[in-house]
């Protein structure tokens, strides 16, 4: 490996990379966490949420899609970068309808966890867009509440590429762009609760709900209750 590999730095720390790796992939291997929402292990990169924005040799890029190159100097955890990330996370909160206290995903939610990690503790400055989105509870085993959708597209890619089904897709443009299903409602698609797209860790928020298992794990012992998002990757650091 070392003959083709190369080194670059993230916040001063030397990181090894293989040709063809993105900045984020190399960072993950090295135990350096770069915040992300639309990227998910095992799925194609989308590069849409922009939470993974880093400065690479002076240029702002999305770490999940930008190839690592030898001697790149990457700025990841600076106050400037994190404040932009905070803006982006706030935008996602304000774009949809996020009522954490009543949400089944609270504690397992990557959006919520990202807000904690980025120190989103002040009252937010943006207006709420309060969209009107209908709940789809038609499927016997799955409910879909796109009020919480952050347009990460992870369900779309999982269904297409892992399940080979194509149950989800984007429709519309601009602020009206949203995730929709391949039928009048979810019951009229071939979605199954065993699909990868429906599995607990594909939807980062609480859009895709598996029926009858809600709250089986109590709040307090959920994924992000005992530490910040990203610590799994950071614990790999030697």
């Amino acid at each position: 490996m070392s003959d083709t590999g190369f080194t670059f730095t993230i916040d001063g720390l030397p990181v090894q990379a293989k040709p063809g790796q993105t900045i984020m992939e190399a960072a993950d291997d090295a135990g350096v966490y770069i915040p992300r929402l639309c990227d998910h292990e095992g799925l194609r990169h989308q590069g849409g949420c922009r939470v993974c924005t880093v400065k690479a040799s002076g240029r702002s890029v999305a770490a999940c899609t930008q190839p690592a190159t030898p001697d790149l100097v990457v700025e990841n955890e600076s106050e400037h970068i994190n404040s932009m990330r905070r803006d982006l996370v706030e935008m996602l909160f304000h774009e949809g309808n996020h009522l954490c206290p009543i949400c089944e995903a609270s504690g397992n939610c990557e959006l919520q966890a990202m807000a904690y990690r980025l120190d989103m503790t002040q009252p937010t400055k943006f207006p709420y867009l309060e969209p009107c989105r209908a709940l789809d509870a038609s499927h016997p085993d799955i409910a879909l509440d796109t009020n919480r959708c952050i347009s990460c597209g992870r369900c779309i890619r999982a269904s297409q590429d892992v399940d080979g089904k194509g149950i989800f897709g984007y429709v519309g443009r601009g602020i009206h762009r949203r995730v929709a299903v391949n039928g009048v409602d979810l019951a009229h698609t071939d979605a199954a609760v065993t699909d990868d797209a429906i599995s607990a860790d594909v939807c980062p928020v609480g859009c895709i709900i598996r029926k009858r298992v809600g709250f089986s794990k109590p709040i307090g012992s959920r994924e992000f209750d005992d530490g910040l998002i990203g610590q799994k990757i950071e614990s790999k650091r030697k």
Binding site: H45, G47, G48, C49, R50, V51, T53, S60, A62, T65, P67, M84, D87, L88, M91, L92, H94, E95, K125, F126, P127, L129, S151, G166, I167, F168, G169, Y170, V171, G172, R173, G174, I175, H176, R177, A180, V181, N182, G183
Partner: protein, 623 residues
Amino acid sequence: MVEAHSTGNGVAAPKDARNSRAITGICDRFGNDPHRMLDILRAVQDRFRWISPTAMETIAEATGLTRIAVEGVASFYSFLSLEPKGAITIRLCDDIVDRFAGLDDVVKSFEDELGIKLGTTSVDGRFSLEYTPCIGMCDQAPAAMINDIVVTRLTKEKARSIARALQSEARPQDLISPQFDALSPYERVTMAVDSNIKHAGEVLLGPVPRDAGLEKASVLQPEQIVAEVEASGLRGCGGAGFTTGAKWRLAAAEADTDRFVFCNADEGEPGTFKDRVLLTERADLLIEGMTIAARAVGASEGLIYLRGEYVYLQEHLESVLTERRTRGVLGTDIMGKAGFDFDIRVQMGAGAYICGEEGALISSCEGLPGEPKTRPPYPVNRGYLGHPTVVNNVETFCHAARILDRGDEWFHAIGTKGSHGTKLFSVSGDCLNPGVYELPYGLSVAELLRMVSGEDAAAVLVGGPSGTMISRDSFQRKLTFDDLATGGAIIVFSGKRNILEIVEYYMSFFVHESCGYCTPCRVGNVFLQKAIQKFRKGNADSSDIDYLRDLSATIIETSRCGLGVTSPNPILSTLENFPLVYSAVSKKSEDGMKATFDIQSAIEEARGIAKRRSYIFDRDYGK
């Protein structure tokens, strides 16, 4: 013939079968190729005036896609509709220039005569009336599209008579000329739309010998063509200004058997209409330039991506392509040179500004929603269907053809250092002589204003909303890549215009045109627009100026493509050059309460419900 959507009762069944046959026929015509999705959907839209759920299913089946994938495309483009549209759809250009030229009166005439409100379709399904962003007619505003026809210089009287004619069964094309069917494609175009060439320069709009550049290129080696274009200093005229020779060199260097040459005729930047004039008056030169590019990079297929708004030019372009094939300057063995093969197809867009961004343009040509592509890879390395693709602006190709004819030194000597040759400027707004001006790079804005009789200008928007709004004290600045770069739009505003109204309009344009792929552009621009509304209502305070700056900075730095990177420019450049406009309407917070909170309007509804005024907040209550 327009067929209304089926009613779902028994009578409709044979008609459903007929409709479904018609749709499979359309899919067949495009080889059931999912990459031709935009053509398929345009054809279905034209025939049925909407893309119905059953139509989407039929198309999905024919092309082997999921229904949701078809819906993803159908719901992306403004000219495709998921609800039935009228047999005649009137799209009024609602650009700020049209508004200032009397759009309101025109709207009112149409509404009155057709008996429908803007944004609706008549119950009998005959008419739809709606707004559409800049259709590239700012020099003859207000203008509108009526199905595939363009009408310009509308007044309230003209609008009234158009509406009456359409109601008494006139076809849209009859509005152009009663002899429309007997006219040539070129006549049809020029009778509808005035080219308005106000100043012809020596490169493009003056006399141009036919195919002289191609003749010379056909005996040069590809490498020599690239070298000549490189030496001329030609830079892209679509806005970004990338060196054209360098772009061609990169594409030529790729190891691939298939390469493509695409012409960007999307011309969506509000206030830009110079490509419209080139497509009308210099279509041969454009195709000549594309053919030269094809020889330079080794491409055998080309495509002209024509914005949906310019569909009235399609027939004209097709006829020029056909004529060139007949003459042996397009197709196989071009100019008698064995193996010099290149042909071009016109790809229609369907109402999406973002498709002018080269990655989005390629997505659109692949039958996808017009979303930009992740870079790298760049189009010259892996573009259309993964193959090296050169995307250049209409004007860039025209220049290239002239350079091959007259030589790189001739071109290089025109203009200034770093900005060589001439540039077409589309001038509109508050000036006496709007139109197209071909001028060498390096003129100042003041010099241009004198030529167009726009001396009353208080503000000039150079490069359209994604460019820079400058004030009088900057009119000495030069129109070059290094000072004020522009894809060609020059919009003049006199002192009587409201800067904040202009800014709000352009922000609403970007909100409408954002593709929605990335968070900052999709959401952030909505927030910017709302913040400007707050200023216009007089509810802003000085902290809102910082808010505008900070939010703009985040959008610019984190957006995925050039749209988001430039969309805050109307705000940032007016904050910089017209600061008083903002401070004049910002409140000071005197009592420490948030100035944006207005107790009077907050309790207005309660007053209505209680049918009385407030003890506390209406000071004179009870007195």
